[in-house]
């Protein structure tokens, strides 16, 4: 019903190219998360889909209808703005009811929808307040409730939970996912929070510098980053990278170890491993421990491997202290390789 197709969309602001010829398809009822560093163009993309920004080139289709010439109100979307945009001259109730009143909905139905979404966002006790009397997190929830109350085909959310405390965010996250799945809404959701991205998304699009670098399921994004950027951006802590020199066909010297790797003509490529995929033992990278951070279930250890910082996540029952030297062995099945020139993954 409301699939979104983006064809060859680009956007420049003067000489600055914010988006580079993007192609993207979001299936009906899919929950798509946009992930990327600050300034990579996430908000710009959402605004183009919403009709608040005109693309320099390209087409936007929603539900089989080309919409790039339509004003926002005719696109069947609602949007949660990064800075909330709660109307200061209206009460919370009237804010949430705003879109419904525009549709000339009857008062009983307006009441019902407002109360329901307000309850969902845990703001039912704030309905008579003005936005000046709300905290940042409360304002944000009003913005989300206002968009949800519209029950649109497509909902665009720009970091809608960024201002909530960890516990509330966890709760809201679950509620949102439930409601949006139930209402069969197609969702594009922008976030900086990787855990949020992983837990909510059917699919994640990772953006970098105005391009989409990978568009895949959360597990795939995490396990098989298509580009070095994805590995270095996703994961907390992110992947470790070590230069690898070819010694033989398919054999690579990595920080004193010789490992099986891809058969390529290149002399120098990059070895990558996630911090939780190395294990201390008799053999492995020689790692001088610098910092030890106990995290409860695990211990995060920052070491020097071949003169570069290298992070490892170890079982917390293993006692490690700074100054110690460890031998860290990478799990063979979890090793990834990247081309230094193209910055993309090399299939092993």
């Amino acid at each position: 019903m409301a699939e979104i197709v983006i064809k060859n969309v680009a956007k420049s602001f003067g000489a600055f190219q914010a988006l580079h010829a993007l192609d993207m398809a979001i299936a009906d009822q899919e929950f798509m998360v946009l992930l990327g560093a600050s300034g990579c163009g996430k908000t710009t993309l959402l605004r183009i889909i919403a009709g608040l920004e005109t693309p320099t080139q390209g087409e936007v289709w929603i539900g089989g209808r080309r919409v790039d010439h339509l004003p926002p109100r005719q696109r069947g979307i609602s949007m949660v703005f990064q800075n909330y945009a709660v109307f200061p001259h209206l009460t919370v109730f009237e804010n949430i009811a705003f879109g419904l009143r525009m549709q000339k909905m009857g008062q009983p139905e307006v009441e019902r929808r407002v109360r329901r979404t307000a309850e969902l966002m845990h703001i039912e006790q704030l309905l008579e307040r003005y936005s000046g009397q709300l905290s940042g997190g409360q304002r944000q929830r009003v913005a989300v409730a206002r968009a949800l109350a519209m029950e649109p085909d497509v909902i665009l959310m720009d970091e809608p939970l960024s201002n909530l405390d960890a516990l509330l965010r966890l709760e809201m996250r679950a509620e949102l996912k439930g409601v949006l799945a139930e209402s069969k809404t197609t969702t594009i959701y922008v976030t900086h929070d990787q855990v949020e991205a992983m837990s909510l998304a059917d699919r994640i699009s990772v953006m970098n510098g105005g391009k989409i670098v990978q568009n895949d399921s959360p597990v795939e994004i995490y396990r098989n980053p298509a580009a070095r950027f994805v590995g270095s951006f996703i994961g907390n802590p992110p992947m470790n990278f070590i230069p690898a020199k070819r010694t033989d066909n398919g054999r690579w010297a990595v920080a004193g170890l010789e490992l099986d790797g891809p058969r390529t003509e290149r002399e120098l490529i990059e070895f990558a491993i996630r911090p939780e995929d190395v294990f201390p033992g008799e053999e492995g990278f020689v790692a001088d421990v610098r910092v030890v951070e106990p995290l409860g279930a695990h211990t995060l250890v920052t070491c020097d491997v071949a003169g570069k910082p290298f992070r490892a996540v170890l079982e917390s029952d293993r006692r490690v202290s700074p100054g110690e030297t460890l031998k860290l062995m990478p799990a063979a099945s979890r090793i990834r390789w990247f081309d230094l020139d193209t910055q993309t993954a090399i299939p092993a």
Partner: protein, 286 residues
Amino acid sequence: MSSAPVAANIEDRPRPVGDAGRAGQFVFVAAIILLCAWILVPLYLLFVNTLSSPAEVTGFPKSGLPSFSMGSVQFFLSFSGVGQALWNSLLVAVLTMVFSILLGAPAGYALSRFEFPGKEIFRLLVVMTRAFPLPLLALPLAVMFIRTGLDDTALGLALVHTVLALPFAVLITFSLFAGIPVELEEAAWTLGCNRLQAFIKVILPLVLPGIVASAVFAFTISWNEVFAASVLTIENRTLTAFLVQNLNVSPLHLKFAGGTALVLPALIFIFAVRKYLFAMWGIANR
């Protein structure tokens, strides 16, 4: 006597922060009293003299209190043409107010929301119009007005006053609109509004106090303007032009009465819209 013992007498011990606060408060209160006096004393003298009998106005010593003799006022009001002039002034000022908001607010909105070539030049030009000396324009304007039949009409004078008030209207409304996040409007669009609806439902309620303030400003500019009014009207004089023409040959007590007639409507008007002025200057009025 050397200065050493004196220096020793100066207490150099830490003093509570409250002392500085109290001193600051004193300066603050004094400044407020001074400002109020600056405005109120001349007004008071004006009113006292208006409400005193002619003999008291010119006599000495003065009591400083009004005797509530309505002689001057009555004489002034019965002076032929005053009522008409008052009405003209009001009409011209209201027209000026309406024109400068109807023209100025859209310009301010466009300046705040759209990028267009020549925007900076336009903004500069808006201010430059104030630098253009009106006397230079007076003769050509008068000729033009006579040709078009606008001379000696409230509409014609209001147009000239609108030109004077417009720069302020544009700049004030520009800063008002610029102070309202675009996202509020955009949110309204995504919630089903077209441009006009979003403007009426979201922007207008937020800028109304400021619009009222700039309307008041336009009103007072017109109300106080005397040069154009004297040149461009003959029969339909505004109060200022009428008073300038007649009062310098009138006795002192009538001048006071005329001054009061000039000041009073503006005061009443500002008093009526004070709520919006306060709201604009950040004092909550919810």
